[in-house]
């Protein structure tokens, strides 16, 4: 297979390009660490390549893969003009030996600014040092943490949990010992001018930060000089947990990443696993997935709209009530479909977990009948509301170049005029069968983001309507018995089905050796799951790219030179969910 990216790299850097791997349509190019900066700059600037969006940076500890050298850092690049994806794999030189070794590589922050936080995270969790990084400190774990949890020689941790505590029993003497001292050193305050300016702390317990986000704000009067988000207060070790359980058992964890859009998270994860396995999903299931994911997009935008309106203008509290009322209608549909309101886990590898219930279509139609009226109410309440416009217009401007440089995706990028939506650019789950538009705006401020998201809601309604027409009847899950459980009645009649069932339940499926990076357009931006399989039933490396995490990095740029009160608007218009920021 000819590959333009590889051929051009090979022609320009014959010594630096060490190899190329193709797996299920994804290309991995291995590059020598010495030439990384030159190669990266070439990939970004060459007019035929233009990899202007750095999606992800993560490290891989290859200790148990038996590969040498032990550490490799990986760069997921995307070219927005040419809709092309490539992965750079950079094996790092071993430094020293034993557990203390910290491999080093050049930082790419000078080429893509988004690498700043991504490299800090890799340093924090994997222990790879990035030379030339402007601010290499831990980001998710406390500053005084010892060790790097994602290394393979770091135990997953945890402890036995007793469900009856007895104060006199010495077995419970350890209770309460797990609290650590609050770190006295706050790295984000280091370059702030605490004498000339006022430095204030916002969060982690603050009603307008949408969770446990902490912002250190440097003020000159009421003007923001700098605003440094500190994250990690909800760090839950998703990646480490995912690397200790079987593929299918991570599906419920996805729900808890971005917990207001669990259907979308499920879809992103199961599609990554399906690509790894090479499984085809039945058409009926694909359409059902589209309908449910778009319903989830509406539900997620309802949470955004309600909380944003309440934060920005306290008088629009009623709107939060309305928005949540309509979110409840969607949650009722989810509950009917899978039994849970929020944490759905409804998509399974190969299709849906159960067939859709008989009343599903009627319930969705009922929702479609009522919701457009409410949308008009929302727009009547907000679009020309003078308070709303005064708080949003011209606040938090982020141009398309800045957004792409910072890796910002989703409605923020589209509000800056860049019509980049994976549903159109790289259609998945039969999105190419649907007729819908990608709403954009040009003002690039918070008000433009509001308009884009409202327009997206209308498009979602269009997609759902078309989906209901296309849905039809059909199998809800693939009949590949190596992946999906056989139906119950088959088990009692067929010996083969019984064996498949037994194997799947006791061992799970085993994908071939390889690596994939599954991307999906979540309500907040591009959510991606990177999977590396070593041929066993447990993922060797599981990487989660949370759009909220990457988008949050833009807070500093967007809040600068604004007023202190505009920070609330900025954070609200980014639409973050801390479960996904901190993972």
């Amino acid at each position: 297979m000819t590959d333009l990216t590889y051929d051009k790299l090979k022609a320009n850097f014959p010594d630096a390009v060490l190899g190329k791997e193709d797996f299920h349509g994804e290309t991995t190019i291995t590059v020598s660490p010495d030439a990384l900066l030159k190669v990266a700059k070439f990939l970004r600037d060459d007019p035929e390549l233009r990899y202007n969006l750095l999606l992800d940076v993560y490290g891989v500890d290859r200790m148990k893969l038996g590969q040498s050298p032990r550490f490799a850092s990986t760069y997921e690049l995307f070219s927005v003009p040419h809709a092309r994806h490539v992965r750079l794999n950079v094996p790092l030189k071993d430094v020293g030996g034993g557990q203390e070794e910290t491999p080093q590589v050049d930082s790419v922050t000078g080429i893509w600014s988004t690498a700043n936080w991504l490299e800090r995270e890799t340093y924090d969790l994997m222990g790879i040092e990035f030379k030339g990084h402007p601010w290499l400190h831990r980001i998710l774990l406390p500053q005084n943490w010892v060790g790097h949890p994602l290394r393979k020689d770091y135990p997953i941790g945890g402890e036995p949990v007793y469900f009856t505590a007895d104060r006199d029993n010495p077995r419970f003497a350890h209770l309460g010992k797990q609290i650590m001292d609050v770190p006295a050193f706050h790295s984000e305050l280091e370059d702030m001018d605490a004498n000339g300016h006022l430095v204030i702390n916002m969060g982690p317990q603050h009603p307008a930060t949408h969770g446990v986000l902490r912002l250190a704000v440097e003020l000159d009067g009421e003007r923001v000089v700098s605003c440094k988000p500190e994250v990690g207060y909800l760090h839950s070790g998703f990646e480490k947990t995912g690397e200790s359980i079987r593929y299918e058992k991570f599906i419920p964890y996805c729900d808890r990443l971005d917990y207001v859009s669990s259907m979308s998270n499920n879809l992103g994860y199961v599609m990554a696993v399906e690509r790894l396995l090479g499984v085809e999903v039945p058409q009926h299931a694909q359409y059902a997935r589209v309908i449910l994911t778009e319903l989830q997009r509406i539900a997620s935008h309802m949470v955004w709209l309600g909380t944003h309106a309440m934060d920005v203008s306290g008088t629009i509290h009623a709107l939060l009530m309305y928005a949540f009322y309509w979110r409840e209608q969607i949650l009722d549909i989810f509950e009917m479909v899978c039994g849970a309101r929020m944490t759905t886990s409804y998509f399974n590898v190969g299709g849906l977990r159960w067939p859709l219930p008989g009343a599903f279509e009627d319930a969705v139609r009922h929702f479609l009948k009522g919701f457009p009226e409410v949308m008009k109410d929302f727009e009547a309440m907000l679009t020309d509301n003078p308070v709303w416009r005064a708080r949003l217009e011209g606040v938090g401007v982020l141009t398309a170049e800045e957004a792409l440089d910072l890796g910002v995706t989703g409605p923020l990028l589209r509000a800056a005029g860049e019509p980049f939506d994976l549903r159109k650019v790289k259609p998945y789950s039969s999105y190419d069968h649907f007729d819908f538009d990608i709403p954009t705006a040009t003002e690039a401020d918070s008000y433009a983001r509001y308009k884009v998201r409202m327009a997206e809601l209308w498009q979602s309604l269009r997609i759902i309507e078309q989906g209901l027409e296309k849905l039809g009847k059909g199998p809800h899950i693939t009949d590949d018995r190596k992946v999906a459980l056989p139906p119950r009645d088959e088990i009692s009649t067929s010996m083969e089905a019984l064996i498949h069932h037994f194997k799947l339940v006791t061992e799970g499926f085993k994908p071939p050796v390889g690596r994939v990076y599954g991307m999906i357009e979540n309500p907040k931006g591009i959510l991606a799951f990177g999977l590396i399989s070593d041929g066993s039933a447990v993922p060797y490396r599981l990487r989660v790219r949370g759009p909220s995490f990457v988008n949050l990095q833009a807070t500093d740029l967007m809040a600068r030179q604004g007023l202190l009160s505009d920070i609330v608007t900025v954070v609200g218009s980014i639409d973050i969910v801390l479960g996904e920021v901190d993972r």
Binding site: L141, I179, E328
Partner: protein
């Protein structure tokens, strides 16, 4: 007939005025009366951690309506609240903050551990998460569920009200 009869406490008006509902004279045990007042005016802290916090917000919205139980005034400052609902997983980085918030609340104060993560670590038995918020602060009511439905939170509040009723006006023990 008593004016209020719930669970194990009632206030019986003495004397007439049975028909117009006005209470002429009330005889009550002071500690029971204080408990009765407290249990219907819980002020939860406006504090959310993870998924359960979204269900906590849902509980406050019109469909479930937490104000039916007299606990709808969420206060943004710990110094004005007497109930903290730990709604989500508590990480090692967050644990000192949660402890400090609890310490800043004025007595008497109560804690609801909402959901599996706050109760026992839930699905996250790993290096990052404190295995149950009861390791750092005393918990009065545990709510199972991942996340619990708003109704489950209401049941916890009703159980907590029984506890508040019996609390008296003295110091918390231990």
């Amino acid at each position: 007939m008593g004016l209020v009869e719930l669970n194990d406490f009632s206030i019986t008006p003495a004397g007439g005025h049975q028909k117009d509902g006005a209470v002429g004279l009330v005889m009550a045990n002071l500690s029971e009366l204080v408990g009765w007042g407290r249990k219907y005016s819980l002020h939860p802290l406006l504090f959310g951690l993870a998924c359960c916090a979204i269900e906590q917000i849902s509980a406050g919205m019109s469909r479930f309506d937490i104000s039916r139980f007299g606990a709808e005034v969420f206060r943004a400052s710990p110094r004005q609240s007497d109930l903290i609902i730990i709604s989500g997983r508590v990480s090692n980085k967050m644990a000192p903050v949660v402890r400090r918030l609890y310490d800043q609340m004025l007595e008497p104060k109560w804690v609801i551990a909402m959901g599996d993560c706050a109760s026992c670590g839930g699905p996250f038995n790993n290096y990052a998460i404190v295995q149950g918020v009861d390791k750092i602060i005393p918990v009065d009511v545990y709510v199972p569920g991942c996340p619990p439905r708003p109704e489950a939170l209401f049941y916890a509040i009703l159980r907590l009200q029984q506890k508040v009723q019996k609390f008296g006006i003295g110091e918390r023990e231990g």
